[in-house]
Subunit: 187 residues, 2 copies
């Protein structure tokens, strides 16, 4: 009936994701996306509707690519030690970008902190709530801890993970490893 697409949407979104990760949302222009994705602006808009749409798909793509880390955390059987491993995993990814640009979700969380964008915000909240629940689950394997302590510690670890992702962008590996070690000293 008609012509077929030359590109694969999954493939080009992965490239878009990389670009957004590098530069953030605002500092990535549609012209830049055009070049990186290797397709024309028309195709971008035909496939994803808007720059915003490309971004949302990029977030989903990022989430999918990092799912294994969360599965590993979820399936771990060593309580707090699993969380610590999760912290180390998040700074030791094979992908070089992760060691320079932190976590795309955390970056986005920061960039959109005071912007009213429900689509983005719900993605963020889902991500953070999910992580917090996992932390709580792991902390709760230690039967000696009461509920209040668990909640406080989960909050602490969530902020620490947040700070860690930010630190990845400006601190060196040694400083970051020191940070992780101290973070888990009293948990």
């Amino acid at each position: 009936m008609a012509r077929t697409k030359k590109y694969n949407e999954q493939e080009v979104i992965e490239k878009a994701m990389t670009l957004f990760w590098k530069n953030g949302y605002e500092n990535t222009s549609v012209r830049m996306l055009e070049k990186e994705m290797g397709i024309n602006q028309f195709s971008i808009y035909a496939s994803f509707g808007s720059k915003h749409g490309v971004f949302l798909e990029s977030l989903k793509c990022y989430k999918a690519k990092n799912n294994n880390m969360f599965v590993k955390l979820k399936n771990g059987t060593n309580g707090v030690e699993d969380i610590k491993t999760f912290f180390y995993d998040s700074i030791n990814k094979p992908n070089e970008l992760a060691n320079q640009k932190g976590c795309l979700f955390t970056n986005t969380y920061n960039e959109f902190a005071d912007i009213e964008d429900q689509m983005i915000k719900s993605q963020m909240n889902e991500f953070m709530d999910n992580l917090k629940m996992l932390f709580i689950e792991k902390l709760a394997t230690d039967a000696s801890k009461d509920e209040e302590t668990i909640l406080k510690q989960a909050n602490y670890l969530l902020l620490a993970k947040h700070g860690l992702a930010a630190a990845t962008r400006v601190n060196d590996k040694k400083e970051i490893e020191d940070y992780i070690e101290f973070t888990f000293k009293n948990i």
Copy 2:
């Protein structure tokens, strides 16, 4: 000889600082500065040369306005406890912006993390090095700590302070206070 300025450069820079603090560098336009500072673009360029120039002066202004916190930290006599107070001071400033927008320096540190801008970077490094030295000084008042421990703890606290400033933008007061408490449990 000639007409006199209607505005005071110190006063208008303070307003510019507020705007940069709210929105960051890139997301603050010269038109916005014009409105907030209450002077025409021509005057902005006559007084500060460029948007970049306005920003640098804003950073200096911010530094000056927060100097008392650093003096207080420097002159304290309670070692680590002074650092903790410094953490609390930094989230309990009378200025409401500080409780929503974190620290202008940390925000700038993040925004310019991968941008080659020597003027900005040297301002940032001076700020961070200075803070680290103060931390080391305070930690060293505990004679039982060896040099390596002091250095590691200083790194830890610097990252924690960094994360704290980021957290101010997205977390509520209770979560943040929990974070500070746990942070110092590990020291």
